[in-house]
Point group: C2
Chain length 105, copies 2
DNA sequence: AACATGTGTCAGTAAATTCTTACATGTGTC
DNA sequence: GACACATGTAAGAATTTACTGACACATGTT
């Protein structure tokens, strides 16, 4: 079985951004990181990072996990998910066939 | 050798659109098609298709070729290019490292 | 000449994203 | 209590992207 057109679209949209590409790379290199720390590492504001992380998580590209630090602070750790999509013309043909009506625009 | 961060970004942005996904699929299924015909096949206006084709061609996903039809009309034929990109976390790490300064936002 | 079909482009609008600023909340420490 | 650091979210501005409609031009046919 393969990826659905809508899922592929969500994934591509999520990755089609310099910020989000850097977020993914930093996160992968770092292993895992929590929001405020990651914001400093990537060099963008926390609210902005939060927005991008939402998109990435919605696409299934990252996972999050709330944890309590030794000193009692709630930290939301993110890590990149495992994925592998072979982007080829044939995949697009197959994916486009399962595009929902909502994606008409 | 692998794909540059900027090129990957261009490619992902080009594919992250329902219309352009359908254009690619139709074009691949059809083999080749000229602008006006493709517009009818996909069901969008010609100026809009023209815009999308520009993005796709700029990303190297399609190629175009002007030809004269038997009755003397200039037809601009498009076809999908051959490409294969394995989308994985590791590729993103490698690609993000070569992101140009322009892509800072 | 008028029509049908092909090409491209530009101006203006509509819509979707992106980003900033500010707020609200919680916990441990000085 | 004030501070430092963590969380999330909401409103509005700024920017980008998408789309429509009209124009200009060319060729073969009626």
């Amino acid at each position: 079985m393969s990826i659905s057109g809508d899922d592929l679209l969500t994934m591509l949209s999520a990755l089609a951004s310099p910020h989000r590409l850097r977020i993914m790379a930093t996160l992968k290199a770092e292993g895992r990181s929590y929001v405020s720390q990651l914001a400093r590492q990537v060099g963008i504001s926390r609210p902005l990072l939060h927005l991008h992380l939402q998109k990435l998580e919605e696409a299934g590209l990252v996972t999050s996990q709330m944890e309590l630090s030794p000193d009692g602070k709630a930290l939301n750790f993110f890590a990149v998910a495992d994925f592998a999509v072979e982007l080829t013309p044939d995949l697009l043909v197959q994916a486009a066939a399962t595009l929902s009506a909502k994606s008409e625009s």
